[in-house]
């Protein structure tokens, strides 16, 4: 009882904090500017989130969102190639960018005195990018190297890529964010430019500034640097989706490795209405009950007690533009198979569906969520990330405290109900890694070492 009271007290305190010091304004050209004031250190972060990611791509040019992200550092009429990074560096800044299925974002972290500079540069490349063939031809090679490094030579990423391509046969999550190699090879500067002209516009972006700033000053600067960029008529976004899966799907990926690996992915909903939805919150809790700490169900049962697996994990992300997946993964112990791990995971899921979760387990996950809300305030960057992601993925930063409240109100019954609903073989895709020897010599078996 005591613990419960503390948590409620914390909740109230944090909910008010989470909303405090956040200000928003939409410029005449449609650019939404959100400011999170945080005066703990004399630093700031600028993030521009474009609401276009790989899920907006077309067949044949997969990966173009990410290629354009690379090209955004390749110069404008005013700021020649290489200068963007040099100017930010000379200002003491750190910068980078990232592309996902749902969005593409650019950021700089700087001393608080450098906001105007960061805005001048970022607003310039929002509408003045040059797409020089020469630069494109070099950069596309960098992207191919990135793909080799991230995916082609990494058995687990490769497997995840194949899993997504299987679980989603219609929805564009079918395609990897970095794109298929053949599409990267065939991509042209015109493809990248076309992407830029289609999606890079103030009315398709959110600007997030967090740190030691004053909102009124940020809005004035934003008006000055971004205000004059014309809005663009955006391409029509057709509704995309995934029809109901009609039965279990299994794939095998062979790659050079030692240990087999298993991923089980169930289709699952994501958050659409922060106030009314309940399943995504229950799924977050379910993931926490299964894998929220090292004595949570999966690790305790599979790694510690039964010793079937050497590692297990659970993944679920409730915030996404597209559909979600509830993912379980594991690596068998030596002498055990992926089948053993799959059976052991299924056994745990069945127990959960049958008997539900205990109040203690649920409370434990909630305590971690609440503490996490305090800890996140130690990072200005992360706070900006969370705002930008919510805004880009069809929700609002105003939903952040709503989500927190809803997570706290999830009941054990809801966790059991949602588990019962999504743990369904017909909605399951199973991928296994079949490890291949590096050479053609026969694989060793059993526990003996092959090194000495």
């Amino acid at each position: 009882m005591r613990i419960r009271l503390i948590v409620i007290a914390l909740l109230l305190q944090i909910s008010s904090v989470a909303q405090a010091d956040v200000y928003e304004k939409t410029l005449g050209n449609g650019l939404k500017v959100i400011v999170k004031e945080d005066h703990r250190a004399p630093v700031l972060v600028q993030q521009v989130w474009y609401h276009a990611g790989s899920m907006d791509e077309k067949t044949g040019t997969t990966g173009v969102a990410h290629v354009l992200e690379h090209m955004m550092f390749k110069g404008t009429r005013k700021v020649p190639v290489g200068q963007f990074s040099k100017i930010i560096a000379a200002a003491g800044g750190r910068e980078n960018a990232f592309t996902s299925y749902d969005h593409t974002a650019y950021f700089q972290q700087l001393h608080r005195s450098k906001l105007a500079l960061a805005m001048e540069l970022e607003s310039d490349r929002m509408h003045n990018l040059q797409m020089a063939e020469k630069e494109f031809n070099k950069e596309i090679k960098v992207v191919m190297e990135e793909r080799r490094w991230r995916t082609d030579d990494d058995p687990h990423s490769l497997m995840y890529e194949k899993l997504m391509a299987t679980a989603f046969s219609e929805h564009p999550y079918h395609h990897p964010v970095i794109g298929w190699m053949i599409d990267i090879q065939n991509m042209t500067a015109a493809d990248a430019l076309n992407w830029y002209k289609s999606w890079y516009a103030p009315n398709n972006a959110t600007l997030v500034i967090a740190g030691d700033v004053k909102a009124s000053e940020v809005f004035a600067l934003a008006q000055r640097y971004y205000g004059g960029i014309p809005a663009v008529k955006l391409p029509q976004r057709k509704a995309v989706g995934e029809a109901t899966q009609l039965g279990i799907q299994r794939i095998v990926v062979k790659a050079p490795a030692e240990l087999p690996y298993l991923i089980m992915a169930y289709h699952a909903p994501t958050l659409r209405d922060a106030e009314k939805d309940w399943k995504p919150y229950a799924l977050e809790m379910l993931a926490g009950v299964l894998d929220g700490n090292s004595s949570a169900r999966l690790n305790k049962a599979l790694v510690r007690d039964q010793q079937v697996a050497m590692d297990v994990g659970t993944g679920y992300d409730s915030v996404a533009r597209g559909p979600g997946m509830f993912v379980l993964e594991g690596t068998p112990r030596e002498g055990k198979t992926v089948g053993d791990v799959e059976n052991a995971i299924r056994e745990q899921l069945a127990l959960l569906v049958r008997d539900g979760v205990s109040a203690d387990e649920l409370q434990r996950v909630k305590a971690q969520v609440m503490a996490g809300e305090v800890y996140k305030r130690d990072s200005v960057f992360y706070q900006a990330m969370q705002i930008g992601q919510m805004e880009s993925d069809g929700l609002s930063y105003k939903d952040i405290p709503v989500m927190l409240r809803k997570l706290q109100s999830v009941t054990a019954q809801q966790v059991q109900d949602v588990a019962r609903e999504i743990i369904n073989d017909d909605q399951l895709t199973v991928a296994t890694l079949d490890p291949q020897p590096l050479s053609d010599k026969p694989r060793h078996t059993g526990g003996a070492s092959h090194v000495h």
Partner: protein, 455 residues
């Protein structure tokens, strides 16, 4: 009255400079542990770290891997708390335990809410893990099996294969060059962990870092609580000297991956080296400065040959590695290798320009506030300052030391430290043309990692 004046002084100090650094309080606990504390009530949380000179560099021949296993089992069972109790109790209060383990250092970190109930419970668990570990044998057997499996996995992955060959080529028989083998793990007995723990986890060599929402009085009690019942411990906290000069070597290790993983380097500098700042600033220009370094410019920006290429020094108690690394498709591995060598040679021979130095200083000095903009980052600095016994004014002096670096110092320091003709080079995933003639490696176990790929 006194406190009031003091806080006004601090306020004025903070207002007068944008580079206000945290006020580090330092003392020795009754236990003998050295304590580094920054009081900050901005967030209702506390970060703590307790470190010992008990990293993998303290392993001895024949017992490789014991340091890591001892450390890994600290939170897997202690007096009155099973491994599940530890994990559950931490989760119940939303506390997070983390670890820092490298060749020098073994340290546990803790992040907790600072409200009394949560904080006290979290610190009690940390104190248990540090002072009363049980090293249960059944759990040791399980962890050995897990580690062996993960070692076997890493022996198939190009990055790990390269790291292992590189460490051996750079450090030879020095513990910095050792990488645990499955046979080492198989040999580990519970008594090894007990012995290692009792020798190396002593209060007199412990460093306690505390950052956050507690008072000095509380910090003093906490530091004592975390270290009062540590073992006596008589192990030497020093690691044997590293042989600085190495013979040049090149290993080509076949692998079926599409890219070659290339590492190149030599023993670099120790943490307390007087060349630290010239080398740090110089390396920013060579390959440490993200998108604007020379290596990045030559390899990626001008030629599109790699996604990532970098260089760094790893300053340790003894000289850690100076290392250059990149991944590139096999067909152009040799071309990029010679490009990197050329770039390094030109850098060492000719040094850096005033313009490059100015740009480097602008970034490092201008970016200084980003280094200390969170409790987490400040905690990490406290740990490092304590562990390596850097001056308490390290953060205050940082920008001035960078500012003082000259092009001549950089040139001079690199010339003395880095001999482009005496580097260890490792290429995992060899170009097809010489796939058959791959030279055997100088180091024993490596060749078994793969042979005759790409047929």
């Amino acid at each position: 009255m006194f406190t009031r004046l003091l806080s006004i002084a601090i306020l004025l100090g903070a207002a007068s400079t944008a580079l206000a650094t945290p006020q580090i309080q330092h003392w020795q606990a009754a236990s003998g542990a050295r304590v580094y504390f920054v009081e900050d009530h901005g967030l209702p949380m506390l970060d703590a770290a307790v470190s010992f000179p008990a990293g993998s560099g303290f392993d001895v021949a024949g017992k490789v891997g014991v340091a890591n296993m001892t450390f890994g089992m600290l939170d897997l069972g202690s007096q009155g708390m099973s491994e599940d109790d530890i994990a559950r109790k931490l989760a119940d209060i939303g506390a997070q335990m983390g670890d820092q383990f490298d060749p020098d250092r073994a340290g546990l970190t803790l992040r907790t809410l600072s409200s009394a109930a949560e904080r006290d419970a979290a610190l009690d668990i940390l104190a248990h893990c540090l002072q009363q570990p049980l090293f249960p044998d059944a759990i040791l057997q399980r962890e050995k099996a897990r580690l062996i499996a993960s070692l076997k996995e890493s022996e198939t992955q190009p990055e790990s294969i390269a790291d292992k060959a590189f460490a051996k080529a750079v450090f030879g028989v020095h513990p910095y060059g050792w990488r645990t083998e499955t046979a080492d793990i198989e040999k580990i007995q519970r008594v090894d962990l007990e012995n290692f723990y009792h020798a190396h986890y002593s209060a007199k060599h412990a460093v306690v870092a505390l950052m956050g929402d507690i008072t000095r009085v509380q910090a003093e009690a906490i530091a004592q609580q975390l270290t009062a019942n540590l073992p006596e411990g008589d192990a030497d906290p020093r690691i044997a000297p590293v042989m600085i000069r190495i013979e040049p070597s090149e290993q080509r290790i076949p692998h079926p991956a599409s890219q070659s993983h290339i590492l190149m380097g030599t023993p670099g500098i120790a943490r307390n080296d007087e060349d630290y700042f010239p080398l740090y600033v110089g390396n920013y220009i060579l390959g440490g400065g993200g998108f604007v370094s020379r290596l990045m410019n030559e390899v990626r920006e001008k030629r599109g040959m790699a996604y990532s290429v970098y260089s760094y020094f790893i300053p340790m108690q003894q000289p850690g590695a100076f290392q250059i690394g990149l991944q590139t498709k096999k067909e152009q591995a040799d071309e990029s290798l010679s490009l990197v060598r050329q770039t390094l040679r030109a850098f060492v021979d000719k040094g850096v320009s005033e313009k490059e130095l100015r740009a480097a200083k602008q970034n490092i000095i201008g970016g200084f506030p980003l280094r200390i903009d969170s409790n987490k980052k400040i905690l990490d600095y406290l740990s490092v300052i304590g562990f390596y016994e850097l001056p308490l004014t390290y953060l205050d002096d940082f920008t001035a030391k960078v500012e003082k670096v000259t092009t001549k110092q950089i040139h001079d320091a690199f010339k003395r430290r880095i001999d482009p003709d005496a580097l260890a080079t490792v290429i995992v995933g060899v170009p097809k043309a010489d796939g058959q003639s791959a030279t055997g490696s100088r180091s024993g176990g490596i060749g078994t990692a793969g042979s005759g790929e790409g047929k």
